[in-house]
């Protein structure tokens, strides 16, 4: 009797495994960030368009902010741009850009064309700060709390759902 049940149990187990696989298939290229819950990486970067002004990670501690990794060469950044713009306009959180592996001229032209929602953008021309943040594709967004800890990372385009469900509740805390 038990012997007959074994194939059925195996079949159900395999089915369950495949169902879980299907469920996470959409997100399987997203790599969970080991930075969550840790201090944001240290950096000192020039401000895009004001290359003499340097901003360090310490300067940003005090109020929560969203660090949006963007570049003029990144089509998905354009796609998410209205969402980022709306969030910045709402005043719910500081929105700071990290212009990633870009040319200053291209980046500034991109902002003129599509609007500049950022308080300012940091220019990470070499991509070195991006490596410290574990950036592997633009756009990505990091929510940093008032103490300077990374509390959330969005890989890919920012959406209104993510803002509602992930960003805003973490700011209100």
């Amino acid at each position: 009797m038990i012997g007959r049940l074994v194939p059925v149990i195996l079949f159900l187990a395999l089915g369950l495994l495949l169902a879980v696989g299907l469920k996470i298939a959409d997100h399987k290229t997203e790599i969970p960030s080991p930075l969550i819950g840790k201090k944001m990486p240290e950096f000192t970067l020039p401000v895009l368009g004001q290359e003499d002004t340097m901003v360090s990670s310490e300067d940003l501690v005090g109020a929560p902010f969203l660090l949006n990794i963007w570049a003029s060469w990144c089509p998905t950044c354009r796609y998410e741009h209205p969402v980022i713009t709306e969030l910045a306009k709402s005043g719910a959180v500081r929105v700071i850009g990290l212009n990633y592996r870009d040319e200053a001229g291209d980046a500034q032209q991109w902002l003129r064309r599509f609007g500049d929602p950022y308080e300012f953008s940091l220019a990470d021309v070499s991509g070195r700060t991006g490596i410290d943040f574990g950036v592997y594709a633009a756009p990505e967004s990091f929510l940093v709390d008032a103490e300077g800890n990374v509390v959330f990372k969005q890989i890919g385009a920012m959406t209104n759902e993510v803002i509602e469900q992930e960003i805003l509740p973490r700011i209100r805390q």
Binding site: I31, S33, P34, P41, S126, I131, D132, F133, Y136, A137
Partner: protein, 142 residues
């Protein structure tokens, strides 16, 4: 027939040519260091094209990370230090051979467990069949 083999050889050759390492010319002090670099970049995953290692990948990030690894090696850092540097930023996923620890245990043990289950199932199937055959033989002879 002969033609078939030539076609196969051509296909295999072009496949091997395609996997030539996508690397920039780097200067190493010693052949040992170069071998270490090659080994390291083979064991580390490119985050952009996730089924390629860092040695093979042509992505810009892979290029940056190779440069970073080279710089750390020149600065005298150990393989462990370099891997830790990458895991702290990109997580265990960057390692093609993840370390044995709590959350990667399933990854390491599951293949063995599945193989074990298969072996046990095979053992019982074969034993049952042998018994059945033996029983049939007895019936036939009696």
């Amino acid at each position: 027939m002969f033609r078939k083999w030539i076609n196969l050889a051509v296909i295999l050759f072009s496949l091997s040519a395609a996997s030539v390492l996508a690397q920039e010319p780097l200067v190493f002090d010693t052949p040992e260091m170069e071998a270490r670099y090659q080994q390291l970049t083979l064991e580390l995953r490119c985050l952009v094209c996730q089924n390629q290692n860092l040695a093979d990948s042509d992505a810009e990030l892979a290029h940056d990370l190779r440069e970073e690894i080279y710089g750390m090696m020149v600065a005298g850092q150990s393989n462990e230090q370099i891997k830790t540097f990458l895991v702290e930023r990109y997580g265990d996923f960057v390692l093609y051979r993840p370390e044995m620890k709590g959350n990667t245990m399933a990854l390491w043990l599951l293949p063995g467990v599945l193989l074990g289950i298969g072996a046990i199932a095979l053992f019982f199937t074969v034993r049952n069949r042998n018994r059945k055959l033996a029983a049939q033989k007895q019936e036939g002879s009696s």
